[in-house]
Amino acid sequence: MIQLRDIWRTYDVGGRPLHALREVDETLVDAEHVAVMGPSGSGKSTLLNLIGCLDRPTRGSYQLDGREVGDLDESELAEIRRHHIGFIFQSFHLVARLDAVANVELPMVFAGVARRERRDRAQRALAVVNMADRADHRPDQLSGGERQRVAIARATAMGPKVLLADEPTGNLDSRSGRQVLELLDELCAGGMTLIVVTHDPNVARRADRVITLVDGRIVSRIRGDDLGEVNPYIAFAENAQDAQAAENAENAENAEHVQGDESAEPPESAEATENARDSGQIEEVAETGAAEKGARA
């Protein structure tokens, strides 16, 4: 059971507070499947990292199975991540030099599970994700879908209660993506709480509930089934993106001036913004922009 009470997460950016999360109140029961949606920079990843104990709230209370996470020290947090949390990433994050089974073993290595036992458990976890026959393949010998399945095996190897997935299908074609989602559904049905951060309504629709974040605030909670062809998130997202695009253009222009390049032509600046929006790096700029806007409001 995950209980978030009035959670704020504030970063200090250049001396100004930047609220990545504000007033987040949410309760997730065991074996629940929740999707988190929202535009870039709305605080989805921050929320995921917080629930995953990689980060601590600046304000508010986060209780995981009744334990107050904010009070725990670094090593206790590591302990919780080790035994209770499984992470799944968009870019898999497999260790390139280790084969599939060694990657799955990795959490157990750090947890001090004996060699023979962890090999057995890793093999079993790989069997669950249907990758037993590829156990000795290195990541570069596997397809994207296969890599993500190995990553899921790794995330579940320690038998966590909470599975956190950040755009798990973002780098996959639709067929492998569907396989991965079905796998996650099965794990959830098996009793794990599953939280999926996604942009994709087709992914979010599978969840029991869909939470939408904008500017670090939860703006809507709906049932996954209700996420129809038209949904509030899309509207929000579009508005937010437009607002951010304007903000970005402004920022880019400012940046040009700061660099002292007085001769910069406005079209160039617009182009820079365009490029910037395409590159992932700008997520942060967007986040900053959104937060500033929020701060002003």
């Binding site: 590591a78 991540r81 035994h83 992470f87 994050h93 030099r97 990795l106």
Partner: protein, 400 residues
């Protein structure tokens, strides 16, 4: 996480970057091999010199004209207020009862020729007592005749090399050779002996001391070689000789008495200084190697930010991450150290095979220090990168 797991994990990371691992190991290996080889050479040289002194017998005293404040070194080439004469030598021999044997020595270089062959050779003026003082032995003929030291007869004793060079295929004893303007009859050839305190007894011509002084037109001896009866009487002999000579030189202390120990310890000090210099150079090279390792580890940390972020996400404790990276850098430098030790050892073996007479072995402390330092280098220069790794923000590390 067991120690074995930490080792295994670090090893897999090192294997992941084979070339980089080998190159940074090389830095440490070269440093360690240099320490081993250079200290072995220094130690070999020191041993060689020590052995030379030991072969002379430890109950030897050398009186050198001229005054030096320092002990040791090779004094006696400076100006001298009073000559050290054959009469001084006679007086010392008479009045110092601890003396077993004494030989005055004059020295110079002169062209020695026989027929068409001529050769620049060290000429040693000595007396019959030289045979006993320096423990020389003859191959053929006899040594200088005993008798009055002031009588300069025209006879010569050859070192084996000089004999070989001047009389190829001819028995030298009985032949007459020329030393400068003088004709001398060869009366003996010495057995093989080798270099001792700067004099190569193999390539030398020994003539009576009075002859040598006439030859070089000198009034002062080069030195007195004195052997005492018993080692424990060296100090007493030294005092007595000093007294006798001061007496004869109007109270001037215008001579220096060098004991075997002083010379040996002077050489020892020289070699100790050389070794210290070698160690200093080695320390610098190991420091450079250490910085190389630090650099490689920093690159490794920044290259593996994703991995470190992942390790944090799967619940690796900061201490475990620190240990993994520290062990990695220690393995790197220790492996380099091992390669260096092996290389150094092989080089020494090769040297010994090439020069069987030379005994060179790295002193135990150098081996221990090289091994210890190579481990230490990894530990010290691994701390900074390892701390970088543990302080990495997992959220930032996992992004992208």
């Amino acid at each position: 996480m067991s120690a074995l797991d930490v080792l295994r994990f670090a090893a897999s990371a090192l294997r992941g970057h084979g070339l980089r691992t080998v190159l940074s190991m090389l830095g440490v290996a070269i440093g360690v091999a240099a320490v081993i080889m250079l200290t072995a050479l220094g130690e070999g040289a020191r041993r060689y010199v020590t052995d030379q002194f030991a072969s002379l017998g430890t109950n030897l005293l050398i009186v050198v004209p001229g005054r030096t404040e320092t002990t040791g070194g090779m004094p006696g080439f400076g100006g001298t207020p009073n000559d050290l004469t054959i009469d001084d030598a006679v007086a010392v021999l008479r009045r110092v009862r601890q003396i077993r044997a004494l030989s005055p020595v004059a020295m110079g270089n002169e062209t020695v020729s026989f027929g068409e062959r001529s050769r620049q050779v060290a000429i040693l003026g000595a007396t019959a007592e030289m045979l006993e003082v320096r423990d020389l032995s003859m191959r053929s003929g006899r040594f200088l005749p005993t008798g009055d030291w002031d009588r300069g007869t025209s006879v010569a004793v050859l070192g084996p090399k000089s004999a070989r060079e001047l009389f190829p295929g001819i028995e030298p004893v009985g032949q007459v050779l020329r030393i400068g303007e003088f004709r001398m009859r060869v009366i003996g050839v010495m057995a093989q002996r080798g270099v001792a305190i700067g004099v190569d007894f193999d390539d030398v011509v020994i003539v009576p001391v009075a002859t040598a002084m006439r030859l070089f037109n000198r009034t002062s001896l080069f030195r007195l070689l004195v052997s005492v009866r018993v080692y424990t009487e060296i100090e007493a002999a030294e005092l007595m000789i000093g007294e006798v000579l001061r007496d004869r030189h109007d109270g001037d202390e215008d001579f220096t008495i060098v004991t075997q120990d002083a010379v040996a310890s002077a050489f020892s000090q020289i070699f100790a200084a050389l070794t210290a210099a070698v160690v200093g150079i080695a320390a610098i090279s190991l420091t450079v190697a250490g910085i190389g390792i630090m650099n490689v580890m920093l690159v490794s940390v920044s290259e593996r930010t994703h991995e470190i972020g992942l390790l944090k996400a799967i619940g690796a404790h900061p201490r475990q991450i620190l240990a993994a990276f520290l062990v990695e850098s220690i393995m790197l430098s220790a492996a380099g150290g091992a390669v260096g030790l092996l290389t150094g050892w092989l080089a020494i073996e090769a040297l010994l095979a090439a020069y069987p007479g030379f005994s060179a072995a790295p002193p135990a402390w150098a081996v221990a220090a090289a091994a210890g330092v190579s481990l230490g280098v990894g530990a010290i220069f691994g701390v900074l990168p390892a701390r970088h790794a543990t302080r990495l923000d997992p959220i930032a590390a996992l992004r992208g």
